[in-house]
């Protein structure tokens, strides 16, 4: 069994007295591609922010790489939900990516040559190096998403958190985007949050459903029971055209 890098045990979280997460347990192995799905307001983003150390749980323990999230934060990459913030901000693509290299030391906040090389490598890896001098507000949703992933990757993280990464990408480029994520997943553990079940592609290795409590499924499939438990009402599983392993196969069809 692979090393467990994220360990969430009995975590409770309430916001202004309203429970958001109740007694959540979750373990993420190194090399996993975990997708956390659930309805809006079900606590997905909260769970992500708890793992990043941006929020503190009310009860329970949470460790990343065996330490508290705040102490392990330099080993994590984060792509926030809203990549459209501050679209009028005068900043170039390269400068946004360089933010991911900040504060490797105290003192003058100047970027070194290594920082610039790392930024170039990250932008090239995501195929957006050509956009480096463009103003951030001039990019399309898909380009922005790639730039923000480059910003998360530029520090060489071991685990990458994506919050609603599909939201700003049009349907045509999603296929490419999955491929890019799958390639990243060869070296980086990925934890992605989505309210959109379309994110489940054949590259996804495990799924968790969150709606206050969490239901974990060890493979990249959703079962009707998981959905019923997470959404608290019967939800139809709908598969779309591309052959994904979204639905559980019938036992007699299972061949792998």
């Amino acid at each position: 069994m692979a090393e467990i890098i994220i360990d969430v045990q009995g975590v409770w979280f309430a916001f202004n007295g309203h429970p958001v997460l109740q007694d959540v347990d979750l373990k993420v192995e190194r090399g996993d591609f975990l997708v956390v799905i659930g309805p809006n307001g079900g606590g997905k983003t909260t769970l992500l922010k708890l793992m990043l150390g941006l929020l503190e749980p009310n009860r329970g323990t949470l460790s990343v790489f065996g330490r508290s999230p705040r102490k392990a934060v330099h080993r994590m990459g984060y792509v926030p939900q809203n990549v459209h913030i501050n679209k009028t901000f005068p900043v170039s693509v390269l400068d946004v990516v360089l933010m991911g290299r900040l504060r490797t030391s105290s003192g003058w906040s100047r970027h070194s040559r290594q920082d610039r090389l790392a930024a170039q490598a990250a932008l090239e890896r995501l195929g957006v190096w050509a956009l480096r001098d463009r103003r951030i507000g001039d990019l399309s949703g898909g380009q922005l998403q790639r730039v923000f992933i480059a910003r998360a990757l530029v520090s060489g993280p071991e685990v990458l958190f994506l919050d609603e990464a599909m939201a700003s990408i049009d349907a045509q480029s999603r296929g490419d985007f999955y491929e890019a994520l799958a390639e990243l997943n060869q070296t980086v553990t990925i934890v992605a949050v989505s309210h959109d079940m379309m994110i489940l592609s054949s590259h996804v290795k495990s799924v968790a459903c969150v709606n206050r409590d969490l239901h974990y499924h060890g493979s990249g499939e959703i079962t009707q029971e998981m959905l019923d438990a997470a959404y608290r009402c019967p939800v139809d599983l709908v598969a779309h055209g591309i052959p994904h392993r979204v639905l559980c196969r019938h036992e007699d069809q299972r061949d792998d």
Binding site: F89, V91, H111
Partner: protein
Amino acid sequence: MGSLIGCSADTRTSEMIEALQLEFMRNALVAGILVSLVCGVIGTLVVVNRIVFLAGGIAHAAYGGIGLAFFMGWPYVAGTTGFSLLAAGAMAAVTLKAKHRADAMVGVIWAVGMAAGVILLDLTPGYNVDLMSYLFGSILAVPVSDLWQMGLIGIGVIAIVTWYYNDFLAMSYDDEFARLRKVPVTFLYCLLLGMIAVTVVMIIRVVGLILVIALLTIPPFIAEKFTGSLRAMMVVSSALSCMFTLSGLWLSYSLNLTSGATIILVAAGGFVLSAFWGRLRAMRGFGMIRGTQSSE
């Protein structure tokens, strides 16, 4: 500006030389340039962090400091700087701890600071300062000692912003991500409010309360549209600020108008022009995008 350009070049240059021979005019010029430099740098940070209202609050609360300094007989700079830093600290605490109530609290500090200043001046026996002079400032009466002070504060502000440039950039663009990268966001935010307080106190006596807010917002707001980096935005704002201040000063001198108010109106004129220019550019840009799309 049309009437100015209308008069013959000879009279214009001789008028200018005549004006520059006056020491107060030379000092006003230097003060205008120094104020523009500082306002371009700080104003850029104020505008991109969307804390114009907060900066206005600090500027008005500084009035309380002016009143207190006169009432207690303290030196202006010490009393006012101390008071403004206190107000800035209170605002930092409120905006960091209770974000949803921040704007109302800033409004309270804004009003109370100003009212306290007026009452304290009322209670000060003997000679009373004309509060109007702090509203529009007295750029034509800047002593040389103030110029030195402004120069020092200017150097300090530019040094701090250069040192923390990338941190300020990250904080202003996406403070949550900056926190994850161990950028000291809370410290930088307090540092920024502190710098606003100190510069406001320094500038208020020269160009007045209203011009401080105008110079902190109008030039950066124009520059934001036409620049590609925070650094460029600071440089362009400073240059625009210089242009507005100097041409406003010149206009006020030749037309015998209140200098502070004239500078603001010149800046407002520049703002309207830039809005038109931006719209024109956007329309042309839109046409270009359409063109390339159809040719693809």
